[in-house]
């Protein structure tokens, strides 16, 4: 199986009018080096073989496809979950972390930095670096550190330094800023292991290619199980890495709707949300042109989501292109809708999803009866890390 999409593009990192490389000059050389190294790696069978071996024998791929008939009653279709929650470390994030950590090693970089919101990308990066013997530093907003204490502890036990970022709202956007600052100062020795399909070229392409494995497996699995392609693929979207990985192998399947679920927080109308498409406009953030939540002066707006992993003011440029071209649809899902879906899946199927993934579940419920007969939902991560939040939300300690 090939992980890498044959149509790598023309090397400019443009997806329609989106993408690009809006970065300080100090980073250009590092980004050029990364582009060249990645292009070599993706054509190198030895690299693909090494990654495949790690994914199969370390990460636990392929992940299963689970039909969830009791949950499906709320959706009104046959529902299959792509179980990225069963990937080692509990989310799809390890696919990208292993690939980029291998790349860092090929580039001779002894140090890796990363940013994380919910901690899943941080844990995946810390894991890959521990496995490959690479020094690792992860930047994380102070608010996220507070609500994702378990993942902070996991990163630390893996030998990673977790740096608290108190600026801004103390969430993912601020952690990305701080990681960029570190990278500007340390580009010679350091690879920035970017966690989502956003950022300057070539990151959106690298992350998408490394996450395509999710959709490639799911496409084959669902055809084997049902004899057909799904009517819809549904995934949550913050930066959009799990969604682009799930969507991409279905892009040419005109009969399959691609539906991204973004975090509407308290509701798009309240202004307290992270629904980039519902409430944003085109601009430049973190190195690429895409939809951005911003005010009329172009200042990035503070976001809110109960899910730290979706609490981001931007979105990957390829999603913006898919949205504008009409190939994918994006629906806002509120905190309450996501939490209700989380509890429903737990109680009907014995699976506790991440709050991020619960947005996809809720999106499928919301579009009930409109999705066709067979629906594939990417369960991007498991919910262990979110139990503090869930306990508070549902008042479980008092139940």
């Amino acid at each position: 199986m090939s992980f890498f999409h044959p149509a790598h593009g023309d090397g400019t990192g443009r997806f329609g009018r989106f993408g690009g490389q809006y970065v300080p000059e100090a980073l250009v050389a590092a980004i050029d080096e990364l582009t060249v190294a990645y292009d070599k790696a993706r054509h190198d069978e030895a690299f693909a073989a090494e990654l495949t071996d790690l994914l199969e024998n370390y990460a636990g791929r392929p992940t299963p496809l689970t039909e969830v008939p009791r949950f499906a009653e709320a959706v009104g279709a046959r529902v299959f979950l792509k179980r990225e929650d069963l990937n080692h470390t509990g989310s799809h994030k390890l696919n990208n972390a292993l690939g980029q950590a291998l790349l860092a090693k090929r580039m001779g970089k002894p140090r890796v930095i990363a940013e994380t919101g919910a901690g899943q990308h941080g844990v995946a990066t810390a894991t890959a670096c521990a496995l490959l013997g690479i020094d690792c530093t992860v930047y994380m907003g102070t608010l996220d550190i507070e609500r994702q204490a378990l993942n902070v502890a996991r990163m630390r036990i893996l030998g990673t330094e977790v740096v608290a970022v108190p600026t801004g709202a103390g969430t993912l956007k601020d952690a990305i800023n701080e990681a960029f600052r570190d990278w500007v100062a340390n580009v010679d020795s350091t690879h920035y292991l970017f966690g989502t399909a956003a950022g300057p070229h070539p990151f959106p392409t690298i992350v998408r290619d490394l996450q395509r494995v999710v959709g490639v497996e799911a496409r084959e699995q669902i055809q084997r199980r049902t004899g057909r392609l799904p009517d819809a693929v549904v995934a949550c979207v913050g930066g959009g890495s799990n969604a682009i990985g799930a969507f991409h192998p279905f892009l040419d399947d005109a009969g399959t709707r691609l539906i991204g679920c973004e975090a509407a927080g308290d509701g798009v109308e309240t202004g307290r949300h992270a629904a980039t498409f519902a409430g944003g406009k085109v601009g430049v953030l973190h190195g690429s042109r895409s939809y951005v939540l911003q005010d009329e002066d172009g200042q990035t707006r503070e976001t809110h989501s109960i899910s730290a992993g979706l609490d981001y003011a931007g979105v990957g440029p390829e999603h913006s292109h898919l949205r504008d071209s009409g190939r994918a649809e994006y629906v806002p899902v509120t905190d309450d809708e996501a939490m209700a879906a989380l509890r429903l899946l737990a109680r009907t199927e014995g699976i506790i999803p991440a709050i991020e993934s619960s947005h996809a579940l809720a999106g499928a419920i919301k579009l009930n009866a409109d999705l066709g007969e067979v629906v594939l939902i990417n369960l991007s991560g498991r919910g262990d890390k979110d139990m503090d939040t869930a306990a508070g939300y549902f008042d479980l300690v008092g139940e």
């Binding site: 490389q21 000059e25 050389a29 800023n177 100062a185 911003q294 200042q299």
Partner: protein
């Protein structure tokens, strides 16, 4: 922008810091103390090129409610009260959201001399350069120690006014040692424009050292830090006045001011 065979000191302060009015007072004091040009920062929520001092200052400016219009009015007020070139240093998104044409028109009308845009690389800069040129504004691009010779040539070709040489890899902030002679020499192979060195310069001795091999010095964080550390604005302005005097003496020691 600068006269030939001179050494120039460029001072940076974000607009709206500590307030819009006090920012204007401070910028004027900087010129009175010896700055030959000013860079006025447009406060932005995600200043990835900036270290802690400038981050802190722009955050305060935004919390004070500073808007793009306030920045342009600051340029207007300072340009009207001084005879030095006034540049705006800004990340790209605020310019794009304001409207490229509208921003250039307003900046030119305000008496601004041009822009430094640290996250707008040359390959994405044509829309800006065309509009800036039409309005008589300079576009100053930054070259980094990591820039290849080909990039240096592209940066030099795209720049007008002067070329900004980053003394070091990293974000803005004071450093105990600064360098940049090698990069300045590489830029000079590609252009006759003045080459000024910024990032990390904080005292007169460093300014003098840099003026020995470059056409001038750009200082930001050290100036901002004086205001951040001051107990009140007047003390901050006095401290900045003293620092700019020291920096100007160092910069101008060998040749003189423009």
């Amino acid at each position: 922008m600068f006269k030939p065979n001179t050494k120039s000191l460029v001072g940076y302060l974000p607009a709206g810091f500590p307030t819009v009015d006090d920012g204007v007072r401070t910028l004027i004091a900087m010129v009175e103390a010896g700055c030959d040009a000013l860079e006025i920062g447009l406060p932005y929520t995600d200043p990835v090129m900036d270290g802690p001092a400038v981050q802190d200052a722009v955050t305060r400016a935004l919390e004070n409610g500073t808007r793009t219009e306030d920045v342009l009015r600051t340029v207007e007020r300072v340009a009207a009260r001084t005879q030095v070139p006034v540049l705006v240093m800004t990340y790209w998104n605020p310019v794009e959201q304001y409207g490229i044409e509208r921003f250039a028109q307003r900046l030119a009308d305000a008496g601004g001399a041009g822009c430094v845009l640290p996250d707008l690389p040359v390959q994405h800069s044509l829309p800006w350069r065309e509009v800036a040129g039409k309005h008589g504004l300079d576009s100053v691009f930054i070259a980094a120690p990591s820039s290849t010779d080909q990039r240096v040539a592209e940066i030099a070709k795209a720049s007008t006014g002067f070329v900004y040489a980053a003394s070091t890899m990293g974000v803005t902030g004071m450093r105990s040692e600064v360098s940049g002679a090698n990069l300045v020499a590489r830029i000079r192979q590609a252009t006759d424009l003045p080459v000024l060195v910024g990032l990390g310069v904080s005292n007169g001795a460093q300014a003098r050292e840099i003026a020995g091999f470059a056409d001038g010095v750009i200082v930001g964080s050290a100036i901002v830090r004086r205001m951040l550390d001051a107990p009140d604005t007047d003390t901050g302005i006095a401290e900045i006045r003293a620092l700019c005097g020291e920096l100007a003496a160092g910069t101008h020691a060998l040749v003189g001011s423009p």
